[in-house]
């Protein structure tokens, strides 16, 4: 299908090329080139604190030789995937109900206002928000102060655990997920909800059997987005999660944190690049899975 003769003449218009150039250039400059360089860099070595363009798989041998022992990059990776997936699940559920509240409970002319309120955090600094969460969730923080006032003696330990990481991440994801899910829900054909009700469905049945299936594409998209962004984030795990946040898997840092620490302490950019390449590879896998899930959801609605 790459044969240019197959393309009808109208598709070869110079105007089309003109308009195609910026996006292609954009991806080439800001996405493909740095990514390609990152991958290549991972196969180079460092000698006397200088990068040497000498092909070697040493970095990967090194990384995978201590994947589940010593540096335990693998456990950090498992922790990251676990936190990213669970964060995204909670974030999607939370934002789905919030978006549903806006779509189904707020009069139409106020919906825009509610939407703006819901995405307001988007305009404040992410780092400041994380510090604020640290302040709220700490053992002697605002939350425990309030709970203590209510007679709860043992403070809730949230900061320096992956629960804290998730809270920071959910706050980060929420504005975007709310928009995605709001658009999803506002486009749910109300007639289909009424049709289900009319056929005998309770409100709850109409939700599970009509609204949820019709939201599948949006939910999949929001979930995939949430997983990939959470997986790539380093700040929430560092500031609210305390760097080595406890989860039921154990007190492992996130993989992104390991990369940052490697970058900050080791004069060996190729190894850091190799670590990052592993992360990018997993993100690509996540993207492919999310894309296939979304495709399936789209087909079901076709």
């Amino acid at each position: 299908m790459t044969d240019s003769s197959v393309i009808p003449p109208s598709n070869r218009s110079p105007l089309k090329l003109t308009f195609l150039a910026p996006p292609v250039g954009y991806y080439a400059i800001f996405f493909i080139a740095p990514l390609a360089f990152l991958v290549v860099l991972g196969f180079w070595i460092v000698r006397d604190y200088q990068i040497v363009a000498e092909f070697s798989v040493g970095n990967y041998i090194d990384i995978f030789s201590q994947f589940f022992s010593r540096s335990r990059f693998g456990w950090a990776l498992v922790q990251s995937i676990y936190v990213a997936v669970t964060t995204s699940v909670f974030a999607v559920i939370f934002c789905y109900f919030l978006a549903m509240g806006i779509v189904f409970c707020v009069p139409e002319r106020y919906q825009r206002l509610f939407l703006v309120l819901a995405i307001l955090p988007f305009w404040s600094s992410y780092i400041l928000r994380l510090f604020a969460w640290q302040l709220i969730l700490a053992q002697k923080g605002v939350l425990n102060y309030v709970l203590g006032g209510l007679g709860l003696d043992d403070p809730l330990i949230i900061t320096n655990t992956q629960i804290g990481t998730r809270i920071g991440l959910i706050h980060y994801l929420a504005p975007i997920l709310i928009i995605i899910l709001y658009i999803t829900l506002i486009n749910v054909n109300r007639n289909l909800i009424e049709a289900a009700r009319e056929l005998g469905a309770t409100r709850l049945q109409a939700f599970w059997r009509v609204i949820v299936p019709l939201s599948r594409l949006g939910l999949t998209f929001a979930f995939g987005f949430g997983v990939i962004v959470s997986f790539g984030d380093v700040l929430s795990g560092m500031l609210v999660g305390g760097g080595i946040g406890q989860s039921w898997l154990g007190s492992y840092p996130l993989y992104s944190n390991m990369i940052m620490a490697d970058y900050n302490s080791y004069t060996n950019l190729p190894r850091t690049a190799a670590l990052a390449t592993v992360m990018v590879l997993i993100m690509v896998v996540m993207l492919v899975v999310a894309y296939r899930m979304a495709d399936r959801a789209r087909q079901r609605l076709a």
Partner: protein
């Protein structure tokens, strides 16, 4: 990396990347690392009366540099970095000769020398060294051989225990082993960098060792065991001072190997925050002003080094808006208020007549260095094991 502090002739070690590939590498790294100021220096556009300095924050503050600019009728441009690795990236991203001075942590001089970035000079050029604490005149990190030095120390402070005195007593703070007390389980914070922490751990295991970074594999194994034993006490690996400061205020962390964060906390009214160096010893960080080998302005660059060695300049440099530290020139105390001297330890030590408290701390502490007998990767991997343990 062997124990040699001499710059190696890298031409003996196989094909080197040319400057262009290095630049590309630097650009990619910048993309990965993000942080840092956005100043872009153009080599051709520089004026003859301009000095360019790559440094940690603080040096660029008007209070600190104004006098130098006025005296010499020049303009000083600063590129600010955070962390030694970022410093190396920034240096490698620009053509040689862009910077006249690099202000580096003492242990990074070895790396700068290895990439042929700095030039030794005669310490006799810097008369103020006479007023320095002797330990800063004998730093092995800056010795370039033949009586020459790679740089002059300008600012320092300590990397030992910070603690909340409501939870840890003064006596407890004087012993690294106090970190293992059951009451501190899940209450210890660690600064997320292998170098100072492993130095401290090394001193805890090998008290008052002259160079805690010069360990045999067996000695290093003991440090590893000590760290792994400490791990259950730790609940936080802080990426920066701000996160740890807040954790100490919040009560999530009551003590940690996180340096003298108490200075800023005290200034903010948290009088229950203290720091000290345990009797086994602790790590000291020290910034050193170096001369760039490819500088076209070496005379002026040397003038800047001399300028930074003066007590009244260090008095300002160690007390910037960015953060508080200490100066190696002991005359600094004459330029500070009583309050500042109290805060930073420039007052007589009651137990050691004839010397200041800060001198006692300097005596107890050891300058941060790179691992001597092992590759830094071996140490980093042990630290990762500690972190992920």
């Amino acid at each position: 990396m062997k124990s040699s502090h001499e710059p190696k002739n890298s031409d003996l070690t196989g094909p080197r990347v040319n400057r262009r590939t290095l630049l590309k590498g630097g650009a990619a790294a910048a993309g990965v690392a993000a942080a840092g100021s956005l100043t872009i220096f153009s080599r051709t556009a520089r004026a003859a009366d301009t000095l360019r300095v790559l440094c940690w924050p603080g040096y660029e503050e008007k209070d600190v540099i104004q006098e130098f600019e006025d005296t010499h009728g020049v303009n000083v441009e600063f590129k600010i970095y955070i962390g030694g690795e970022q410093m190396l990236q920034f240096f490698n991203q620009t053509p040689r000769g862009t910077y006249d001075n690099v202000l580096a942590d003492a242990e990074y001089i070895r790396k700068l020398a290895a990439i042929d970035a700095v030039e030794p000079y005669n310490p006799g050029e810097v008369p103020e060294l006479a007023n320095y604490h002797p330990k800063f005149n004998n730093m092995h990190q800056v010795q370039a051989g033949d009586g020459m030095v790679w740089g002059t120390p300008t600012r320092f402070s300590f990397y030992a225990i910070s603690y909340n005195s409501d939870h840890m007593s003064f006596e407890e703070s004087g012993d690294w082993n106090s970190l293992f007390l059951p009451k501190f389980e899940g209450k210890i914070g660690i600064f997320d960098w292998y170098l100072p922490n492993m130095g401290n751990a090394s001193l805890a295991v090998h008290p008052n060792k002259e160079n805690p970074y010069d360990l045999t594999d067996e000695q290093l194994g003991a440090v590893r065991d000590w760290l792994l034993r400490l791990r259950p006490q730790v609940n936080m690996f802080g990426s920066g001072a701000q996160a740890i400061v807040q954790a100490m205020i919040n009560g999530d962390v009551v003590a940690g190997m996180i340096g003298d964060l108490d200075i800023d906390l005290k200034l903010a009214g948290y009088t229950n925050m203290e720091s000290t160096i345990p009797v086994q010893g602790g790590i000291r960080w020290q910034e050193v002003a170096t001369l760039c080998k490819q500088s076209e302005n070496k005379e002026l660059a040397l003038e800047w080094i001399k300028y930074m060695s003066q007590a009244h300049v260090q008095a300002k440099l160690a007390y910037t808006k960015a953060f508080k530290a200490r100066g190696p020139n002991l005359k600094i105390a004459e330029h500070w208020t009583e309050e500042q001297n109290q805060l930073l330890g420039y007052y007589p030590d009651p137990n050691n007549p004839g010397q200041m408290w800060v001198e006692t701390l300097i005596d107890r502490s050891v300058g941060r260095d790179l691992p001597v007998q092992q590759d830094e990767k071996v140490w980093i991997d042990i630290f990762n094991e500690f972190k992920t343990g």
